[in-house]
Symmetry: C2
Subunit: 146 residues, 2 copies
Amino acid sequence: MISQTAEYALRAVTYLADHTAAQTAEAIAKGTKVPVGYLAKILQGLVRSGLITSQRGLYGGFVLARPPKELSIHDVVQAVAPLLRIERCPLGIAGHGTNLCPLHRSLDNAMATVEQAFRRLTIHALLNQAHGSHPLCSFPHLETPN
Amino acid sequence: MISQTAEYALRAVTYLADHTAAQTAEAIAKGTKVPVGYLAKILQGLVRSGLITSQRGLYGGFVLARPPKELSIHDVVQAVAPLLRIERCPLGIAGHGTNLCPLHRSLDNAMATVEQAFRRLTIHALLNQAHGSHPLCSFPHLETPN
DNA sequence: CGATCAACGGATATGGATATCCGTTGATCC
DNA sequence: GGATCAACGGATATCCATATCCGTTGATCG
């Protein structure tokens, strides 16, 4: 449904949205339970996409490039593992470029629904959900030394 | 979003729904533009799941086990490449079994929407869509000798 | 029975997503 | 300048979805 990479990216972004100071890859990895090395790659991708900024050296790390209100789930997903819609007939029939057959039209409709939901949902909304729980699965709890 | 395997399975089932007589793996493969060998595996899976039945030997092949009205997209997808929902906290926090954090709750909600859509959509509905196009991307056209 | 047809099942590639490792670059501090 | 910190980038490993191949089983026909 959603790639592991995209899910990791969302965890990281959510984590960053919850911290004002720059966070190192290692810190984010610990706080989100994502393999450090792999997360580093994903973070680099997010930097290249312009969603976050990076700073080397002491006190360096990663920071959100935009306020969480202007950052949607969709932005993050598209940046690291684009959810590509069905635009042309997968059977390769010429002339069926724009109007798909019922099967693929239906499948693409489902994707469109998800895409719309992801577009609407901002990271900010995630953090301020009247839910009682924490933005990530209670990562504050994780941050206690273990 | 949806696995290639599931998409192939849907093509095959759609194809079968459009034919009353048994269809060989080769015929289905030609009509749906799916690699024969791989399709054969998928068909075997569908047989094991009870969605279709098979018959060996001359005039053998595959037939739908249920009328298209009682066969949903969801049935097919679940049979070959189950779209698994987020049921437990992916960070592995104990006590967060039932109520997920906002992030994973949102992701699972999107999946729930897709699942609902797939549950409602029957193969029959796909075939009888007032659309002008054919159930599969005009596979009747494909069936002309080429 | 023998021949043919077609599903069945196991073994084996292949490619991309996932993941690890490490030397290099650049920033900060003293 | 030297030491330390942390991102960067390339090479490599691992796993799984995807895909191919082929001998075996079972059904039909003459």
